[in-house]
């Protein structure tokens, strides 16, 4: 049984993530209209939103401590929020500001917050090996920290994932692989990328537990993740946990989704984990005011982060040259002066 207090916390993270992304969407579309131009507006580049996937992030990350490691994929905001990534600095990063998590160098797919051991990558499944590596470090140091790699169901065919499962299993690493099954990998429906319905079945091939939660249910995820994270923390090895979620929007902002049927989209919208958790909370005596209170707090937090981020300075153009190395080789700059051929030839 999940306590009501914990349910409220899960709910708070989920509504924070949902509201955050609604606001990002608004900000993103600014300046991109009427003709959508991906490089225009205050947030340029691609933007992958995770509306419909909040239960997976909240349900898993609520078992994690700041010293536990999380690697997220290209759709990272809900996971980052649940892991406790600094919301203001994350937002500043997405707006490309100097005080962002990566000083404006990474953007929304590449958020790094070492304070809570969070990282992500835009290359599919490539967060899996580093998560195994973080788990390896914890094991070698005899610490009880764990690592969690998040990936989509489209990523489970990738070599990096399958190799990581084997590596983690062979070395009994304290790592949990969390597959967020949202039924789609861009335009590819799940049934066309795999003949195995339950991604968690793949665990059997690596002699590790495989668990699937086939509802958009934060509480069920929380319970399943509790076991998986507990197993890792108790040194009983890795787990593959697959969680059914839904993609409420296009793959990225601006994806017209011509490949997707209206029924599929409607079905996704109807299965909302936030609604589901709300009715659980009501069953446990939390009334409208109680729910509204949590939502208002979440919204206030988001508005504060966005307002703060937008006031932050832009990076200077020259900042582009810093941070290639933490230990820059002396005497070498990335914009070295051009040599003059005449001098080299000595013919002047």
């Amino acid at each position: 049984m999940v306590s009501v207090g914990k349910m409220r916390e899960l709910y708070a993270d989920m509504v924070t993530a949902r509201y955050y992304e609604e606001r990002l969407q608004e900000e993103y579309l600014e300046g991109k209209q009427p003709a959508f131009d991906i490089s225009a507006g205050p947030i340029p580049g691609e933007l992958h939103l995770a509306a419909g996937q909040e239960a997976a992030a909240a349900g898993v990350c609520h078992h994690l401590r700041p010293d536990d490691t999380v690697t997220a994929p290209h759709r990272p905001h809900h996971v980052a929020i649940a892991k406790g990534v600094d919301l203001k600095r994350m937002t500043a990063e997405i707006f490309g500001r100097k005080t962002g998590l990566g000083k404006g160098k990474g953007g929304h797919m590449h958020l790094f917050d070492p304070d809570v051991n969070f990282a992500c990558s835009g290359i599919i499944a490539e967060g899996c090996p580093p998560a195994a590596g973080a788990a390896l470090a914890a094991k070698k140091r005899n610490e009880d920290a764990v690592a969690v790699a998040f990936l989509g169901e489209g990523a489970i065919d990738q070599g990096a994932f399958l190799e990581s499962l084997n590596f983690a299993s062979v070395h009994d690493l304290p790592v949990v692989f969390v597959v967020e099954d949202n039924d789609w990998a861009i335009s590819m429906p799940k049934e066309r990328v795999t003949d195995v319905e339950d991604g968690s079945d793949r665990a059997a091939g690596f002699d590790m537990p495989g668990v699937r939660v086939d509802r958009d249910d934060a509480l069920a995820v929380y319970e399943a993740a509790g076991e998986a994270v507990g197993r890792a923390r108790d040194r009983n090895g890795p787990t593959l946990l697959e969680v059914q979620v839904h993609r409420r929007m296009g793959h990225f902002m601006g994806d017209p989704q011509a490949y997707r049927s209206d029924e599929d989209e409607e079905a996704a919208l109807a299965r909302d984990s936030i609604d589901r958790l709300e009715s659980e909370l009501r069953d446990h005596g939390v009334d409208d005011d109680g729910l509204a209170g949590i939502r208002e707090d979440a919204e206030a937090r988001v508005e504060e982060a966005i307002a703060w981020a937008k006031e932050q300075p832009q990076p200077a153009p020259e900042d582009a040259h810093d941070d290639v190395f933490v230990n820059p080789p002396s005497g070498v700059t990335t914009d070295e002066p051009e040599f003059e051929l005449a001098e080299v030839n000595g013919d002047e």
């Binding site: 131009d37 580049g45 861009i186 200077a316 153009p317 582009a320 003059e340 005449a342």
Partner: protein
Amino acid sequence: MSESEGVVDRELTMSRAMVESIAHEMRENEEVFYMGEDVADYGGIFDSTQGLLDEFGRDRIMDVPISETAYLGAAVGAAQEGMRPIAELMFADFFGVAMDQIYNQLAKNTYMSGGNVNVPLVLTAAVGGTYNDAAQHSQTLYGTFAHVPGLKLVVPSTAYDAKGLMHNAIRDDDPVMYLFHKRLMGIGWMPAPDGPKTPVPETDYTIPFGSADVKREGDDVTVVTLGLHVHRALDAAESLAAEGIDAEVVDLRSLVPLDTETVLESVRKTGRLVVVDEDYRSFGVTGEIIARVADRDLDALDAVERVAVPDVPIPYARPMENEVIPDADDIEERVRAVLSAE
């Protein structure tokens, strides 16, 4: 002048031109098929396969799981059986996950078999930045792939070139990497500059690899470049013309094979060379072009400059991305520098 001018009335975007040549080759040859992520129902994230599924069906326009080692490697295997696969990975940045299939299998099997095996495969991918998608989605990596012997490497800058080079790529019996710049494709959500949309003949035609195209003639300085930067160099040349500087713009169109002759001929005329590349500066295209010219005719060179990404990953935020990806102003500045280098 560009070969494409004055040929026909009909203008196409670069993506339409590519698709037209692919469709033509698929009609002519049953052995040609197309494999990649989101190439069927989506029509290619960058419109690179728009409409092909309707005509050719799923057997020949194949969506594949996100398993690059498997499907790029499978394309190598099918090609070795004599089929003519075209395999697409939406961003060149993603090739890394399947690198062995590319630089050890695809590139080397012909040689290691003493020429007894050949790999008639076209590998396509989008390259380039200028839309703030950060370091893992903005690279051009021309140098990386041109560096490995055994891969032909093509980079179109106009619809006319895109079609002719694609016909050639599919008919070629060797592996060809065909890298198209996102900014040139003419997709709705990423406005292209004016240049890439050109007249394109309806009939098929080939543009041989290793034939650089002089996109603008000029007497004072040679600007050598490829891809998006052809258009930036042409813009720079227009502004410089107003200052009385007459720049010649050479579009390489292919890096392997490289048309050193056309570059040399131009440098012999102008005496000054500026090489412009959207890839990282060190160990790349700019160094290679300058080295070849210096090797072959050092006396022809009065001054050289290079304009490229200054050995930093492509940053996300706009001011920093603008700083590292060369624009027309950067090109103009380096052109003025070679002209004052006497």
